[in-house]
Symmetry: C2
Subunit: 150 residues, 2 copies
């Protein structure tokens, strides 16, 4: 049981209204939180990769695209606190204008991918998926651990 | 670069229509694929836990609930191939009626959580989140690695 799930388990329902107040995250929490988001994107991108490469049936493809679009919509916000660490290079914050523009573009492209999939069938959004999920182009600039292993 | 992203990178756009045919996953692929889904649920549940326990601001709470509901909707299907391995105990398939009922209940509860959050505000869906994200009750029966560490 990790710290968060332990805390969650211990939560009294009476304190739940606290979620609406502004929380003050420490640096460790800030880094852990954005990792949860980026790992979600990684897991879902790998799942879509398995489908697009033909090794897994495409039944869930629309849902994967929806999950990525939803997660992409929260990714930039998780980097707003200027807390270098984890896999994020300091360049995330020193080049914030570029980083945030790339993340906004990622959000826009994944939303379009999911919309086209829903309107025209996910089998017609494969090219959009490949274009939207170009993780490497950002990681090689802003991720300290990922540029060589993907 | 792992096998999937390598394959994805190498995909010719001309073969994309292949995603609509029925893929034949080998056992390793089947296990890797369902792990991507379950890890997504784990990352998103931990993120929600950080918000509900007050260490991270709640700005993304609705999106996390949406992402979990979307992912829960594909989880059961990823276990349909009878391929024990990874963290899944053989009981998943020997007790399929119970396992699939629990997963269907999980899908239903997370969908309800996300719906209530959208209609009444995510700050009013905290109790539903705690009820829906009771991962441990299933893991202690069906997950070989998680019953003691969560």
């Amino acid at each position: 049981m990790n710290r968060i799930t332990r805390t969650l388990s211990a939560l009294s329902l009476a304190v739940l209204p606290l979620v609406s107040v502004v929380a003050q995250a420490d640096d460790e929490d800030t880094i852990a939180y954005r990792k949860h988001i980026m790992k979600t994107l990684d897991e879902q991108t790998n799942a879509i990769g398995m489908i697009l490469s033909g090794v897994i049936p495409a039944d869930n493809l629309q849902l994967h695209m929806d999950a990525i679009a939803t997660t992409a919509a929260m990714a930039l916000r998780s980097f707003e606190p200027n807390v270098p660490g984890g896999d994020a290079k300091p360049e995330v914050w020193s080049n914030w204008e570029d980083f945030s523009a790339r993340m906004a573009d990622f959000e826009k492209k994944t939303a379009n991918m999911a919309r086209v999939a829903r309107e025209e069938g996910p089998e017609n959004a494969g090219e959009l998926a490949i274009e939207a999920l170009d993780c490497k182009s950002c990681h090689e600039v802003y991720n300290s651990k990922r540029s060589d292993d993907e």
